[in-house]
Amino acid sequence: MTKLLRWPSTFWRALFVLILAGGAYATYVRAFYGLGASTNLSDQFPWGLWIGFDVLCGVGLAAGGFTLAASVHIFNLRRYKPIVRPAILTAFLGYMLVILALLFDLGRPYRIWHPLVMWNPRSVMFEVAWCVTLYTTVLALEFAPVVLERFGLYEPLKWIRRVMIPLVIAGVILSTLHQSSLGSLYLIVPEKLHPLWYTPLLPVFFFVSAITVGLAMTIFESWHSSKAFGRQLELPLLDGMARLLAVLLLVCLVIRFLDLARRGVLALALEGRMESWLFLLEVSLATAPMLLLFRSRVRANPSALYACAVMVIFAFVAHRLNVSVTGMQASSGVEYVPKWTEAMVTLSIIALGFAVFRFAAKYLPVFERAKEEPLPAPEPAAQPASELAPGD
């Protein structure tokens, strides 16, 4: 328990305060002087870091929630149960932060609800808006048992458990739809996005890469929480996930190269232009962890496993930023480099994510209780296995 309450070192705390101070100033500039003063966006380059990283990467990095909920509650892979709660917490926080980032990026943030009442079903953005709204609600309900348990509210807990399976199914479908649709957003710019990234398969890539990075994120946060809270790392579980991660990376890379070859643009990778180097970087960041994770020695070593997860996360971020920022650069005719205020907002949002996760993990029953602690559940103890909530 004493370890559980340990605070991070002074260095991290100081950095955290510094980032938030910068973020607060950037927020002030954004709110009172507009997008022009707070970003380097322009008519030629209307979407930058906030959409490219905070939204596109944020939604993808939160994909562990739906994959783990499905594995445990639909596919009945019960040994993964201990990491479902942290994954759902990450997903829920992730989506809240994405919405927060959107409030910065939208020209008129107070109209964020407009797509819910002013419909245009032909718009990919409309579909994404609806899916994200619904899925955030689903995530809140999926995470609710943790909060209800903490405060001993067993009556509503029973109600939520009853609808949990339909909720999980809805969550998987909504996620499939909007994870892929984030890629479909860019289907409309065939002549603007560099051919190394523009492909009719963009929705497929965004979906498969989201599932892949969801696994990497789960490994990443298991490692971090084991450090922070002095818990044992769930190595046998992580081994199973690492195997799947290696296979998914292989699948991603095979589709990636088949697609490039079929469209006849593989040679662009060796042109020596900025795009070629970024492509090679992205591909090597995915290939290295794939090769490593196929070795059992690597999977059994926590540090190596962690390094692989980080590489996968970087590969994923590289791909999404290449689609949304660097791949759009050449056709736009302008150079876009994020302004420091843009970077500050993004860093603040990441910092906030870490802080809130830490706070929730500390005060809510997110991680499995230690064996010696008695179970404080008087009433719903006799739940049949089939009605377990994702939070369980």
Binding site: Y33, P46, R122
Partner: protein, 254 residues
């Protein structure tokens, strides 16, 4: 009734009266500095582009199947039956997807404002409805920009290309680009030499996203059935195991 604008670059003398009149209509300040910057911006919604002895005009093309209309999540942009693509600022939340998606890079944003709007040429929709030509057509002293019915202007453009074949690049910009537009342009040189987008497909771009979106009902239907089915199977095994008095295996669903 489908109205259109025809711009004939060979008749244009680069006097920028169209720009000045357009700015006047929108209540925007117009001065030499703004005139000298040949880009669309919140300060001017049409611009003359100078390429040596030749001129081109940039403005909203008012596509027949506009990309901006299809991408807007709140339907703030609409293609009217008369031809113009119009913008309703009260709906717009400022996602700027229209700006990203527009193949002609036309919509611009009020970056310096805290309550910004998207801005673009609306082909003087209200004037057209009143039976008047667009402001730029009225202001043009040489007849380089004219307003009329699309079929008639198309006919006129073809006629000019045929009667003076040496003076024109033999294609009409806006006739087939991304499925055709309500603004037609003819010139002595191909579009890429005049600073206009040249690598555009002939099919309407909204088809690309519509193909992806049409899978939504399939994902919902097949997804629910499949996941529900998997759940039923994986948990059925447990029920059977329980009925037979066995303990369920560790990973029953595998």
């Amino acid at each position: 009734m489908s109205l259109a604008v025809l711009y004939d670059s060979t008749k244009c003398v680069g006097c920028r009266e169209c720009e000045r009149a357009c700015s006047g209509k929108w209540g925007l300040p117009y001065n030499e500095a703004i005139a000298a910057r040949e880009v669309l911006s919140e300060h001017k919604l049409t611009t003359i582009v100078t390429r040596g002895e030749r001129y081109a005009r940039r403005m909203c093309m008012h596509c027949n199947q506009p990309t901006c209309v299809s991408v807007c999540p709140v339907a703030a942009l609409q293609k009217t039956e008369a031809g113009p693509v119009v913008y309703d600022e009260k709906r717009c939340m400022g996602c700027r997807y229209c700006m990203l998606a527009c193949p002609f890079q036309v919509p611009v944003y009020e970056w310096t404002r805290t309550q910004p709007k998207v801005k673009k040429c609306d082909m003087c929709f209200e004037r057209l409805m009143a039976g008047k030509p667009t402001t730029c057509s009225e202001a043009c002293p040489t007849g380089a920009t004219i307003t009329g019915r699309r079929e008639e202007l198309l006919h006129e453009a073809l006629h000019r290309l045929a009667t003076n074949p040496k003076d024109y690049w033999q294609r009409i910009y806006g006739r087939r680009e991304v499925g055709g537009a309500s603004v037609l342009m003819i010139a002595a040189a191909p579009p890429e030499e005049l600073g206009l987008k040249a690598n555009l497909p002939q099919h309407p771009l909204p088809l690309l996203t519509w193909q992806a979106l049409s899978f939504v009902p399939d994902v919902v239907g097949v997804g629910s059935a499949l996941l529900g089915g998997v759940y039923w199977i994986t948990h059925r095994r447990e029920e059977v195991a329980a009925a037979e008095g066995r303990k369920p295996g560790k990973d029953v669903g595998r």
